[in-house]
């Protein structure tokens, strides 16, 4: 299957296979007017299989969200058909309005305009803590 390269925009590479739809959802790519290609299960020498997302727009993407979905993703910025910058990611310190606290006793359950803020507590286990009620969530709870 061939998908054209892009002239200007962003290529999100090395996405763990199966996570491209999460990237699409949490970066709100459905709201874009420009072309977006989502490629699943590409062959990868290193990863076996991987997903790729190509966005033909120089978008200010939320690297924290992306790092949370998969810290192994590489972000390639393309200008005039050439890569001008490559960024690697890590798990973000703080996540705002990505996760939702599931504790029914949390203040965010009744005051829904409050930002949902989580801070990292364990990088190896990808555990985050609600800054209000201290409830711990794991990364796989994102869906």
């Amino acid at each position: 299957m061939n998908v054209d390269g892009i002239e200007n925009g962003i290529v999100l590479d090395h996405i763990r296979a199966g996570k491209a739809m999460l990237v699409y959802k949490y970066l709100h790519l459905d709201k874009l007017g420009s072309q977006v290609a989502l490629i699943q299960n590409c062959t990868s020498h290193v990863m076996g299989k991987k997903d790729i997302v190509k966005i033909s727009e120089d978008l200010d993407i939320d690297l924290d969200v992306l790092g949370y979905i998969d810290p192994g993703i590489t972000v390639n910025y393309i200008k005039d058909g050439k890569r001008v910058e490559k960024k690697t990611l890590s798990l973000p310190e703080t996540l705002t309005n990505v996760l939702k606290c599931k504790n029914p006793r949390c203040i965010t359950s009744v005051e829904q305009e409050l930002p949902q803020v989580f801070k990292i507590v364990d990088r190896t286990k990808a555990l985050y803590r609600c800054v209000y009620c201290d409830t711990i969530v794991r990364s796989e709870e994102l869906n």
Binding site: R105, C106, I107, E111, C130, Y132
Partner: protein, 308 residues
């Protein structure tokens, strides 16, 4: 240290030096009440109680009045603007313009974090759901220090609801900062202490044991901290009814206890301590409320910068 606008949400918001300073101050308040009786003259404390808590609210009010200050506030969400749907943030922003220091109890966990983001005056959490209640822990610490002479080298028994009992978790967090203490955790398996709290004991490398038997544990204890099985923490009435009478402290059970053991309870009790125990000199749970008032006085003075 910068104390203006300081928020005390969790007992760990206070350093060990600060805890020791507050306890010293409480001791001085007890010895020389007249020295402090006008210290907060013309200062106002707001008590914002979104759920009922007669004891804690009156303790704060009594503390502020004992310092010559004034109090205003509400007791219950129905008598506040929360019943009209006002957010915690808005209430706190408004109250910041009225008073010099604020105390809040709220049924939702994390409400004090929201308050701390919006207050422009010192703020004290007086309990947020099953989460934190730092001034209860201040009362517990002072009671232990006064009855044992120290906060170190103590075998502390915690009995009852160790799962939902926030006072138990806060007390462990605070006592772990003092050396050479041992912990005996007495509860039915359904109300065992949560894993994250056990992890803290393990990480600290302190001696601890879990048991279901109060009788087996009691001879070893310097402090017995009893707790109530709280109905409001259960989603299911059946579970509550099954577990509420698991541990009842009676004079008979105290036969094997040390003669200088102290019995503490955050109150209110339901039936977990028999009334017959009240006459025992080891019963310190009413004295604990006096310690609580004096620690609240000390904390108010400290946060207002009026402790010196």
């Amino acid at each position: 240290m910068e104390t203006n606008r300081r928020s005390i949400i969790n007992i760990l918001d206070l350093s060990v030096d600060e805890l020791d300073h507050l306890m010293d101050l409480a001791d001085d308040i007890e010895k020389n009440p007249e020295k402090y009786q006008d210290r907060c003259a013309h200062k106002q404390l707001a008590t914002l109680f979104y759920e009922p808590s007669t004891r804690t609210r009156l303790s704060f009010e009594s503390a502020m009045l004992g310092l010559g200050g004034q109090v205003l506030g509400f007791a219950g969400a129905s008598s506040s603007s929360a019943s009209k749907g006002e957010s915690v943030a808005d209430t706190i922003s408004v109250m910041s313009n009225y008073v010099d220091i604020m105390v809040m109890r709220h049924p939702k966990e994390g409400a004090p974090v929201v308050a701390s983001m919006h207050t422009t005056v010192p703020f004290i959490n007086a309990g947020d759901g099953g989460h934190f209640h730092p001034t209860q822990t201040l009362a517990d610490l002072l009671t232990i220090r006064r009855t044992r002479g120290s906060l170190s080298g103590i075998t502390l028994g915690l009995c009852g609801d160790l799962k939902f009992g926030r006072t138990v978790h806060s007390l462990i967090d605070a006592m772990l900062r003092y050396p050479d203490n041992k912990y005996i955790l007495i509860s039915p398996k359904e109300l065992r202490i949560p894993e994250y709290e056990l992890d803290k004991l393990k990480e600290a490398g302190v001696e601890f044991e879990e048991t279901k038997s109060l009788e087996d544990a009691i001879p070893k204890l310097d402090i017995l901290y009893m707790t109530r099985v709280q109905k409001e923490r259960f989603f299911n009435e059946e579970d509550y009814l099954r577990l509420k009478d698991t541990y009842i402290l009676t004079p008979e059970k105290l036969h094997n206890a040390k003669s200088d053991m102290a019995i503490l309870h955050p109150l209110p009790r339901v039936n977990e301590i028999s009334v017959a125990v009240d006459k025992d000199p080891r019963a310190k749970y009413f004295y604990q409320t006096l310690c609580g008032k004096q620690m609240r006085m000390a904390l108010i003075l400290y946060l207002l910068g009026l402790d010196k």
